[in-house]
Amino acid sequence: MKIKPTKIVEEGFISPVETYPGKVVEVKLGSTKGEGGSRGRSVIIGGETAPAFYSFEKRMPHSPIIAVDVFDMKISLPRAVKMHVKDVLEDPAAWAKLAVEKFEADLVTVHLISIDPLIKDASPKEAVETVEEVAQAVDVPLIIGGCGDPVKDANVFEAVAETFAGERFLFSSITRDMDIERCASFIKKYGHVALAFTPMDLNLARELNRILYDFLPKEDIVIDLTTAALGYGLDYAFTAMERARLEALMGDPELAHPMSSGTTNAWAAREAWMELTAEWEPRELRGPLWELTTALPLLLAGVDLFMMMHPAAMKTLKNIINQLLGGDLLKARELIEWVSTKI
């Protein structure tokens, strides 16, 4: 029988710090007047040399940022979102202004859904005009969203890229079934950035990047591994992103790009927008929390750029990011007493 200790047996603790051979490339989005564009500011994402928010190892070199979705035509939105944007639904410029001024968006995504041959089949010229209106209304860097049709998107992207040469817009997105050589070439020629989109499969992401590398420098590529909503495949998205970032840090250069997430996909979950029985209400609160809860695992997996929709979800995400980057102020000392505190 061992003798029981009578006082605390001292043990040491060594912080388990690792070093990583890989580094995520830094990508600059937007371009100011001084830099050859017209934006009020540009923003750098990426550059990580440790997993996201492992601040005991390394501080994140750049804060993850949030882009707000703006659509170029009236679309159906969940009620919880619509109530915040109902006055600007048919005016992308006003919507963008609202996003920047009121929702504190770092960037604005202009979703050119009206170009969809199945919707309005708007021309590249019309798309350029929409982007022009938005670019006039706000001076943050822009993301140009296509409609998902590989041919039409390429045509519209080229027209927008040419008109806004030097602006370092992010083109969302370049997919495997597009004419990649053509897209990469005009993105390079006119000084923009490609968002390389693949469906939660690291090999496909590597493959697409390898093709892009023939035309574009690494610093002009952001990757999107697909975001599925909380409850609807978020586990796959989370793990794809967590793995991609860890492998990038372990020295896989083909995955060493900043990651973007279409977090708005959270609203594809019916639990985000649908009226459920009374015990799960109100959905006006449940919905934005759904979007936030979709974003958080991805933030911790290493996402650098979030495309979002609900103002409460993005404001909270921004606060959380600031708190996480704020470091080790331990003002919260008195919380040790949580055990005996009456609420």
Binding site: K4, P5, I8, V9, E11, G12, F13, P16, S55, L118, G148, P199, M200, T226, A228, L230, G231, Y232, G233, D235, Y236, E242, R243, E247, M250, G251, D252, N265, A268, R270, M274, W280, E281, P282, L285, R286, L289, W290, L292, T293, L296, P297, L300, Q323, L324, G326, G327, D328, L330, K331, A332, E334, L335, I336, E337, W338, V339, S340, T341, I343
Partner: protein
Amino acid sequence: MTKKKVEGRAGIKELSPIDVYKLLPKTNCKECGEKNCIAFATKLVSRETSLENCPPLLTEEQKKAYKQLMELLKSAIKEVVIGVGEHAVKIGGKLVMYRHELTYFNPTAIAIDVTDEMSEEEIFDRIKKVEQFKFGYIGQTLKLDMISVRSTSSNPEKFKATVRKVAENSNLPLILCSLNSNVLEAGLKVVSKCRPLLYAATKQNWKEMAELALMHKCPLTVFAPNDLKLLKSLTKTLIEYGVEDLVLDPGTFPSDGLANTLNNFTMIRRTACKRGDELLGFPLVGVPMVAWMERGEAPEEIVKWREAYLAAMLIVRFADIIIMHNVDGWTLLPTVILRQNIYTDPRKPVAVEPGLKVFGVPDENSPVMFTANFALTYYTVASDIQNAKVNAYLLVVDTEGIAVDSAVAGRKLTAEKVADAIKASRIENRVKHRKLIIPGKAARLSSEIEESSGWQVLVGPKDSSDIPKFLQEKWQNPKHTSATR
């Protein structure tokens, strides 16, 4: 997928089936249900079976090999059982730091806060809400797991009475919370056979708490806020004292302390999983309810919201138990769904078998729809069709377990796949018409599907809850059709 080494890959990845096989009886008797001993060894390594399934190994002469195997297959994070009987909750038992390295076992247990200064009415209301919490999700029922009873009064009698009240009205395992060992002991006396988790041993009270844990055979939490050296020292001390089942709380700090909180959880888990430090190889408890401690003037909804996002971050960053104050469904629903998602087995796609499913008694005029084979998509669509009480065929297309919109974007759902599924299902022999109702989220594929299948496409609703309405408006009522024929 190229096999690149990710961060050490200690633990599970270093264990080869050959190492395990060497210690097995090598009888190839198949009593375990596997073809041979090497197959059994492979399943042991991936934790799909356990040593107890090998009868020859459980004999006296194999005792030494059994012990060696137990040691070899030991998890990086100790499994701790809280409670007894059918409601007992297992926590910890993790083999890996990241879920893609294998899978996570034992989902984060969610405990709801009750205190000894709440009114009887409030306590009963909370117990009722915890017990009745149920949400159906891909064939599972998501639930809450435990009740945490806190002493805010520091009065042993009061605490005892509250613990009794809770224990008499719920079978769920308990966490008893007080840093005062006299208070804790009073409560523990009522439930001493029920194996509650004791919260918590600190720098000051560790000896008294250790005595209680030993006397009542209970697991014990070690609380050393933001001090991992102390946490480790206390763990070492308690183990030497004879307490084996420990749970660690490095402190949950909201807002300005959030970075520290995540750092501590991460450092502990990495030290245990990647550096093999057994002193930190215990389950972790996170306390999202600290959000209520810095409430200030914030409205209740805001505090609930903060508590919910703390819970989400802690579930992702390694918490094995979380203690929450709020019991509202709108915050707990995302929490339990996230927990389910993080704890699914990444080795198995959450998919259903593709093929033709039949609803009601469809005839040659009944509608034909298709959907993806992602389990959640399928169960949602299926329940909407069932609720609508329509006779219909549902073609489940193999999208590799991905939902419709993501599958379209990711080209896992293509016109060719739909055409192939139509052919393989022989639906053309069952219906006279050639009209396919496709999900609204696959509208983009309409013309391609028409081209490759030869069927006419009707674009259905974006959400399957609108299927009944859609059929009523766009599809002739089959009953009506047959009556007029």
